[in-house]
Structure formats: C-alpha cells, structure tokens
C-alpha cells in the first residue's frame, strides 16, 4: 500500500508501473483520477487537510478493502495546497488479478475518500472564496458498501 498526501503532481505511468510489478502477478489495474473542473467563476481550488488523521483514515479504508477484495496493490495519492483548473487532485489505483475486484475496490475507496477522510476544498473566484459544501449524494453512495 502506498499512501501520499503531497503538494506535487503525480505521474500515472510511474504509479501504474510500480503496481504492475507486485506479486502475485497483476492482470488488471483500475485508476481513478480526480481533476479540478474548469469553470468561468473559479480561478483556483485550495485543499486543506488534517495531517496525521488523513493518512490514518486512508490506511484504515485501504486495509478494509484489502480484506474484502483480493487486491495485489493499492496506491492513493491526494494533493493539497492550491490547484488550478485541469490539475489532478487525487489518484486511487488498485491492482488485482481480475478486473471486478479492482473496479469495486477503487470505487469503494473513492466513496470513502469523499466522505470520511479529512480534506476540505475552498474555491477562489475573482472576488471571493468559498468552502465547498459536502454533497448528500456522496454520503448516500456509502450505503452500497454496507454488508449484512
């Protein structure tokens, strides 16, 4: 498991290469990339986080995913600081033998990253800044992962 909270961008080719060479042999890699949406009214996005808790929370969800699906490798990179439209925000990449486990675990990790891991986004427009509100639909997405 690789977990990074960083200001720098990430290199998808390099991250996938690293996942590919995990044992046992990888056949499928799913990578989710979140991007700052371009907009006429937003000039930048600033990401704040809770150092320490962020990494712990991510690790907790990755460990859970490792127990639930047969995964060979997981990489989570989340950027912080000031980002521009088109910039990468987050990478969740999961390697497995077959695609289904990789798809499910990536979606699971994104759903928990959106709702449980202490990051906050502030949008800066030309005149003022505002904190982005949490979306109810993100919270609702969690129910599909609840097991009996």
């Amino acid at each position: 498991m690789k977990i990074c909270v960083q200001r720098e961008d990430f290199d998808l080719n390099a991250e996938l290469d690293a996942l590919k060479h995990k044992r046992p042999p990888v056949g499928a890699i799913v990578a989710f990339t979140g991007v700052v949406r371009a907009s006429d009214t937003v000039s930048s996005l600033t990401l704040e986080h809770y150092p320490g808790m962020t990494e712990r929370e991510i690790a907790r969800h990755v460990e859970y995913a490792n127990g639930r699906w047969p995964l060979f490798g997981v990489t989570v990179i989340h950027r912080i600081g000031e980002l521009r439209p088109g910039d990468n925000i987050v990478l969740v990449a999961v390697a497995a033998e077959h695609r289904r486990a990789a798809f499910e675990a990536t979606e699971f990790l994104m759903d928990y990253l959106k709702t449980q891991v202490p990051f906050w986004k502030q949008e800066a427009g030309q005149e003022k800044s505002q904190w982005i509100e949490a979306r109810d639909s993100d919270e609702a997405a969690l129910t599909r992962w609840h097991q009996d």
Partner: protein, 83 residues
C-alpha cells in the same frame, strides 16, 4: 488537551489550534462544544449549529456523545469534501 479547528471552522474562529485545560464536568464532545460556545463571539456562532460540524478524538471520527476520557487531541471541522 489539544483542540484543532479546520476549514471554515478554523477561519471563523481565527485559530487552528489551542491548548485547553478541561474542566472536570466536561465528559463528552457535546459538552466540550457547549463549553466552547459559552465563550461567546465567533465561538458562540460556530458552535450554535452542531449539525454543521463533525468531530474527531485522537484522529478518529467521534460521535457527539463520545467520551473524552482518553482524549489528548480533539478536532472540530465541517463535513469533509476531499477526493
């Protein structure tokens, strides 16, 4: 005990971190929030709407009625918006 504030909570309170000597009658997150609210000013504002806030104890999500018995670090923040 260390108390941390993030995002608009931090901004509106004008501080991200403070050390608090916990009065003995405060046993839960809710009681700590009410204690902070009683300071008035920006604290009264921010803590008047607990539904808009989340809390963590020792870097783990905590419910509003969680005990502070083992707490060395408590944080208040808005619902998260990362990813």
């Amino acid at each position: 005990m260390t108390v941390l504030y993030f995002a608009w909570v931090r901004q509106r309170l004008g501080t991200g971190e403070e050390q608090i000597e916990l009065p003995p009658e405060i046993g839960t997150v809710r009681e700590l929030a009410e204690h902070l609210q009683s300071r008035g000013g920006a604290f009264a504002d921010v803590f008047s709407e607990p539904k808009r806030l989340r809390a963590a104890i020792n870097q783990e999500h905590a419910a509003w009625d969680a005990s502070l018995q083992t707490a060395t670090e408590v944080a208040f923040f808005p619902p998260v918006t990362g990813g």
